[in-house]
Symmetry: C2
Subunit: 366 residues, 2 copies
Amino acid sequence: MNLEKVCVDLKTRSYNILIGQNLLNQIGLFCRSILPSQKGVLIGDSNTTALYKEDCLISLLKENFHVSSWQFQAGEKSKNLTILGRLYDFLAEEKLDRKSFLIALGGGVVGDIVGLAAATYLRGIPFIQVPTTLLAQVDSSVGGKTAIDLPSGKNLVGAFYQPNLVLCDVNLLKTLPRRELICGLAEVVKYGIILDRDFFDFLETHIEGILALETSLLTTVVKRCCELKASVTAADETETGKRAILNFGHTIAHAIEVVSGYGKYTHGEAVAIGSLIACKLSETLMGFPPAETERIEKFFIKIGLPVSLVSTEIRSVDSLVLAMQNDKKTLAGIPRFVLVQHIGEAKFGCQVPESLLRKSIEEFIR
Amino acid sequence: MNLEKVCVDLKTRSYNILIGQNLLNQIGLFCRSILPSQKGVLIGDSNTTALYKEDCLISLLKENFHVSSWQFQAGEKSKNLTILGRLYDFLAEEKLDRKSFLIALGGGVVGDIVGLAAATYLRGIPFIQVPTTLLAQVDSSVGGKTAIDLPSGKNLVGAFYQPNLVLCDVNLLKTLPRRELICGLAEVVKYGIILDRDFFDFLETHIEGILALETSLLTTVVKRCCELKASVTAADETETGKRAILNFGHTIAHAIEVVSGYGKYTHGEAVAIGSLIACKLSETLMGFPPAETERIEKFFIKIGLPVSLVSTEIRSVDSLVLAMQNDKKTLAGIPRFVLVQHIGEAKFGCQVPESLLRKSIEEFIR
């Protein structure tokens, strides 16, 4: 078994990310030494529960864990206070104590909501992330951000709370709908753009193999993304500084998701378009070479990501700008942007004149 | 102005508790140097808003703070997910950013719910506690515990989250209904019982003056309680050990509150009865002198606290025991108790045989 390991170094709250294949049906083994009790709850959405719950529970039972399970309807629309409240009620019914644990089996929505439940139930209990999408394996399951959405904005309520273990089984990516895989690749490419030019080159070179789900390539990709995210997170756990560069493309992406109604664009699709708009802004404000914007755009097209917005789906530029002003990274009503000098180097906290922002967004509407 | 100060030493999250009279109408001054932005929301319940909102807002406005206000119906019944959700929606409407602050103006319910909102809105924003009851000044506003109740139990959802400042204006205690004042004294006496025999003696000696709301006595009492709580909290912020002794009487008290329906007994009344039952258990298990149980019981009676349970209000001993098994301090279904060796010294994590527990509870039912 090729088992890769990335340690997220957060002193007393350090934890490991394990990356490899066929990890899910050994989850009991991996949990054995790191949990303070044998009692827990496995939480998935309607998709992941149908696909993987059985395997998880069998492996956990083999190691004498007593684990009940709970699920909710798949989709970003479930990431709200109502579902969180139902989950709390279930945890109370199951009489979990402070040493009991939660397992989040799913993509970003499951990880975010279960992470927040773990952060707040009894003021914090252990939890394990088992990300089942590429997006979750390379991004949302690592770094300890948990959240739910409010009607007025994405991720407005949440906590910084670290899991005890992240288990990335790349085999799970093979059941992923193609659109979900592609969506995850938007975040993968983002790491290259903001932090690692060599990794960007590697992705360009091997994109066919990645899209064909070659196991060793997937393992390499997930591991490199986790390493990059772990190092940024360790340096700045609660996003007071450097960690903000991970939000490249995201201020615009969140606005696209809010304005189009969650679900029209996947998160990754919105990030792809947001990244290109951020590149465009960077051309004017940071001297980012237009040829690199073009290179990224071509790469997104090759992957199958959208590179422009459909005008009927985003109402107006005004509504996008308004949504950005409501973003939680906003300070005193002025959104901050992550911009790039060249592929591999980014800067956070940049102010962008509203006129330039509007002009750049307009270029991407068709 | 006699301004007393207690520092809660939590490294980078250290903060001050200010204790004195006429502090509320100077709140703007005290906030001036410790908040990262001028924008905030003042939250109170229907009682505290009517009494104190105006004074607060005037003082804040003088220092150029831009503060809007929000309120909810007074009472423990409001400490739930529905009210928290409405508060989140208000914060989103007000477009608070990560540097904006909340002010909790009220007793334990307000402090708990506003603290949890501050801990989770945008994954954590600054907040200030302005406790308006004796219970909140000596206990709930200090130490960073925040929470809401679930239908199945008190404080089941919450976070450890420290305020930036606690402002204890003892003048506010003068508008407090007598029952609320008496309720707070149950927690005050608790500090003496578990940590400080001299303080217990002091309270016995000066109880008439305290009940007559003599300002200098109130200041001394609040300050000593805050010092004791601050030292325990600093030693063990997230209650993995010593901090648990503050729960003296509370496992039983919470069960009383759950079983009788929140509101029948005030928290302090339940704590008084819980403390006496814990003394009774301590007699058998720790050699606690029966004369000291009697001394405490007499003191509670003098203060005006109940010293027994009304049988019609608590259904049965079974229901109390069941509620304790659902308490969040329970580990593996076995409740843990804080017991006392003598007045001034306590021990946490004690197991109590169920038969003894039942017998001791029965002694207090009339």
